[in-house]
Symmetry: C2
Subunit: 318 residues, 2 copies
């Protein structure tokens, strides 16, 4: 059932053994929110366990308390409350679902939330789950330590693209101002998050050479061949390079998934690319979507281009 933030506070206050988890493929928001909430609840003397069914990318190892997060083993156990952060679906927490026997409180900001939990606090207007956690701590007049501030600032800043995405609101900014006053240092946090392995920059230089333009410069394509990714598989953010080119409406990145399949990422300025992804059995948002398509690179490229050009025409007729 949907509950208020006061009810969330009440649930957290009355239980003493609380397990906190979040979605697999962890990001800044899920990890920062877990650690921010745990930092506060631990200070009240509660028994807090942080479980996550995935590896934590080294990028986030600077977050204070990160080593308290453990991967679950298969031993089942009981707790007073399982708090699931930033996950819109129970499937997204991996095997934590099967081993913790406790009522579930879900705190999330994804509009696609399936309301799977016993207690749900959903605010799809929040730029990040970290924004909700900070609002909760404020309502509780919690002592926000520098460590908590760093975690929540990271949570919020990463989920709004460092204040560049449309979800950045004046509340997002005001909360981050308060977190700076509590000790978060924006430049130190962004330095940690922007660090890249050498192999990643070398791959970027190789992959940018694959840039091709179609449809009079309205469609830009990057191709990531399997041999490029020998030392570093991380191509996150690479699709932004074709996307920001003047005149480009749709950016596409084809990345070799396995022998006969290509992972297709789509970005746009106005076209609803989720429709293109849907055509190939994928999904996503209007401006950012993806799908996996089987076939040779030439065939996959031709097929995606054809559908993309159709949607581009739809746009120009509007």
């Amino acid at each position: 059932m949907d509950i208020t933030l006061d009810h969330v506070a009440e649930l957290l206050s009355k239980h003493s053994h609380i397990v906190i988890t979040a979605h697999i493929h962890p990001d800044g928001d899920s990890l920062g929110s877990m650690l921010g909430l745990a930092g506060y609840l631990s200070s009240l003397g509660k028994k807090i366990q942080l479980l996550l069914d995935d590896e934590i990318p080294s990028l986030y190892h600077f977050l204070p308390g990160i080593h308290q997060i453990e991967q679950p083993d298969s031993q089942k156990f009981k707790a007073d409350l399982l708090v699931i952060l930033d996950a819109s679906d129970i499937e997204r927490i991996g095997k934590v679902r099967d081993i913790v026997d406790a009522p579930i409180l879900n705190i999330d900001h994804h509009i696609s939330n399936t309301k799977f939990a016993d207690y749900v606090f959903l605010d799809s207007q929040a730029a990040a789950t970290g924004e909700i956690i900070f609002r909760l701590l404020k309502s509780l007049q919690a002592a926000v330590t520098t460590d908590i501030a760093i975690c929540l600032y990271t949570a919020i800043a990463t989920d709004c693209g460092f204040f560049r995405y449309a979800n950045t609101s004046s509340t997002t900014m005001r909360y981050c101002a308060e977190l700076i006053d509590y000790g978060a240092k924006p430049h130190l946090i962004s330095e940690e998050l922007e660090a890249r392995p050498l192999a990643n920059i070398i791959n970027l230089s190789k992959i940018l050479q694959s840039l091709e333009l179609f449809a009079e410069g309205k469609i830009a394509i990057l191709t990531v061949l399997p041999e490029v990714l020998d030392s570093d598989d991380n191509t996150e953010g690479f699709i932004n390079y074709p996307r920001i080119i003047e005149g480009v409406e749709i950016a596409v990145m084809f990345k070799s998934a396995d022998q006969h399949a290509w992972r297709v990422s789509l970005r746009s300025k106005h076209v609803d690319v989720s429709q293109i992804a849907l055509h190939f059995g994928g999904g996503g948002h209007a401006r950012a979507a993806g799908c996996t398509v089987n076939g040779s690179l030439a065939n996959v490229k031709a097929a995606v281009l054809a559908v993309a050009m159709k949607h581009l025409q739809g746009l120009s007729h509007e």
Copy 2:
């Protein structure tokens, strides 16, 4: 003489023909501050002239009112007040200095300000001159239109690297929150500012291929040969790629300046690179500096590397 913000307000209020200018090589802060201040003063029915002795990069053409900024001709004229924004030295305003006959009010945030003006309001704690202009408008209880908000948000956001530099304070964030409430849209502004010509992305892919590492990966170098820059001369931001590589302490970019000279840009995480620049007759800040060195690429590279390695050793002995 140094004056208070109230005195600034008084000067602006008592004069009716006001010329506003800023430094040449205009950036988001100088242009946004000019337009933000002009927007307010124009609404009071004053005669406001916006002069700038330089071209305005197309990147900033989205700023409301940008076409009101004119390049000065050589005709001298009198005005009540010349307001110089974001310039720490009179030399930086080009020929506007020679053609406007008026007392000078200088509003700036550069610690290196030479106090050249009749009236100086300097706040080196402000992340941007735009921050000072917004404080001024707040103190005057000015009606902040959406257009003014867009200009001042751009001014502040660009000068603090979209909230990623050390000058980002909680005040910076709070002011931007207010500007969002006045109608600035962070995602639309950042979309405009991140757009790049195709040639720029192609150049990036070429220049990244020049990446070289020295000193056990602590020094990373990019080289921009003259033939690369045939269609687009803008390499702004390229030095960030070597800078963000894990383990890199000093990033250097050598860019062909003319037949026999190389423009050297320096960035660092801890080393004071202004000392390296100073050695070659240049200057700058501890983390970002530059110089121009005459000679062949091989000689210039060897000379700069030698000095950089000496400073690197100094660091490890601390």
